[in-house]
């Protein structure tokens, strides 16, 4: 009985993971502007892999005495996905592949454009 419940839980986690992973990649292919495309895989795709890791953890606890080291991958992915999305958005903004970002209210500009003279390309200590 317990094994059946574990099997059902693993199957559900696997199916939801497959759904979210597929939705992330379909969004990557189908959305029309680069900044929209950043959304789909970094959120849905990460959630899908999280579901697969959850399935692996349930499997470990049901059949092999249990281990939590899938949490390592999960924590690492959930921490690094926003950072890489931020880097890719900066690439899009700086290369001018998207419409110019509207300026923020007030006198200042966005932090990623607010570079000092030493940070300009070519002038810095490379």
């Amino acid at each position: 009985m317990t094994m059946e419940i574990a099997d059902i839980a693993i199957a559900l986690a696997l199916l939801s993971g497959a759904f979210f992973t597929l939705v992330g990649s379909i969004g990557l292919l189908k959305l029309d502007t680069p900044m929209k495309r950043v959304h789909a895989p970094t959120k849905a795709g990460t959630l899908g892999v999280g579901s697969f890791l959850l399935a692996s953890m349930i499997d470990g606890f049901a059949y092999r005495g249990g281990s939590l080291h899938e949490l390592l991958i999960m924590a690492f992915l959930f921490v690094t996905a926003p950072i890489s999305a931020n880097f890719i958005s900066k690439v899009n903004m700086h290369r001018g592949d998207i419409d110019p970002t509207p300026p923020p209210p007030g006198e200042r500009t966005w932090a990623t454009f607010n570079t000092g003279p030493a940070d300009k390309a070519g002038d810095g200590p490379m």
């Binding site: 199957a11 199916l15 497959a18 990649s25 990557l28 895989p41 795709g45 697969f52 290369r95 390309a121």
Partner: protein, 89 residues
């Protein structure tokens, strides 16, 4: 039931990998290509975990961990190279 779930999951993740590869080839700008490579690394982690689950082994876990770390580092390196023309200054 488990076999069906595994078949559906393998099919969906492989299809997701192919779709990301299409975006990698097509991608009109550099950011899209970097994003597609990042997505492919994440999907490869999913495939490795599925292989470990289907085979009932823990061998693939370390490979998935390495893929997670190298995928993030390579994404940051690509983005940094495109932004600054240099990776380590």
């Amino acid at each position: 039931m488990m076999t069906l779930a595994f078949i559906v999951s393998f099919f969906c993740v492989s299809l997701a990998q192919v779709l990301a590869m299409v975006r990698l080839i097509k991608g009109p700008c550099v950011g899209d290509r970097i994003l597609a490579l990042d997505t492919m690394a994440v999907n490869a982690i999913a495939l490795l975990i599925l292989l470990g689950l289907a085979g009932g082994t823990q061998i693939y876990f370390e490979a998935a961990l390495i893929f997670a770390m190298l995928g993030f580092v390579s994404t940051v390196a690509y983005a940094r190279f495109v932004l600054r023309g240099d990776i380590i200054e």
